[in-house]
Symmetry: C2
Subunit: 186 residues, 2 copies
């Protein structure tokens, strides 16, 4: 791959990250190109279409979630704490990236994105299971319930609202997921 191509690819990804984060999946390709300092055609040299570009970004962000999840699982963090830490990370990313919040809850399972999603799904299942075994989480919840609850809240919130409010919402949902009677700590 030519050096300028590699350079441009990075510029495109960086710009796309910013633009999609702000405007969600409906951001215009022209705007991405502009912010990258590149012509639209160049976007299409690196990604077959808009969906692929967006998919690559989301997969990348899901990678961060996977990382945190693996970390807390490896280090045997206390189950509820582990679970809430991962959910905070997931929500934090969504808060900074509207496209992420839009795309993640939807099921579509193709390509790179599909794999990332399945991995996240598996890890969430493990986290939920452990929290339930420890008696900390209500038993009638599954991993598939988490995206609607946590991503939804971000979606239905005006862009750029305060992180404090976001944090409060996360806390409310976490409390709701807690096993009744297991209250007190975080």
């Amino acid at each position: 791959m030519r050096a300028d191509a590699r350079r441009n690819r990075l510029k495109v990804i960086g710009a796309a990250q910013v633009v999609f984060s702000e405007h969600g999946p409906d951001a215009r390709m022209e705007e991405v190109a502009e912010k990258a300092g590149v012509a639209v055609g160049t976007l299409y040299r690196h990604f077959p279409n808009k969906e692929a570009l967006l998919g690559a970004l989301i997969a990348d962000r899901l990678g961060h979630v996977i990382e945190v999840a693996r970390d807390v699982l490896d280090r045997d963090v206390e189950p509820w704490e582990a679970f809430s830490r991962v959910m905070r990370r997931l929500t934090g990313i969504a808060h900074e990236d509207r496209a992420f919040a839009h795309v993640v809850p939807l099921l579509g399972d193709e390509g790179e994105l599909g794999e990332a999603k399945r991995t996240v799904g598996g890890l969430l299942e493990e986290l939920v299971h452990k929290a339930q075994e420890a008696g900390k989480m209500r038993p009638d919840v599954g991993a598939e319930d988490l995206p609607p609850l946590f991503m939804g809240m971000v979606l239905a919130t005006p862009p750029g609202f305060s992180p404090a409010r976001q944090e409060r919402y996360v806390q409310i949902i976490l409390d709701g997921l807690r096993h009744r009677g297991a209250h007190e700590p975080g």
Copy 2:
């Protein structure tokens, strides 16, 4: 107003309700016309544009929420019960109407819709306040927090999922809003 006009207006509203409920605010005007058994031009004889048509529908549904809220307040239903009943209604409507779930959380406050929203907002405030006074609801919540939490959950959920699941999610969020220590009943 001519009889056929009145008849068509009803057909249009009925069709729009179905189509927007299913596809959300992005439903096509052509599809509404088709389902109404009418030409597109007719839609525009009755409503200046898509937004106005959609707004009329939403305002109508908000009317139902207002009705329930007024009812429970008038009849002095126990505060937490009153609050949760209204939220169940709100979520139930959103569940059947994706457009509703999309539009309601956004702030825009013009025309008929704006007024309906402000009314709902006022009633929710009253409900929240009473629930908090009774010590049943966490004190760090306001009426403006409810749409993101409840509508968001619907938004981030695949269309046409089971009412039971929906009900479970509502329960989780309600539990999260409960004042710690006020647990036990519904």
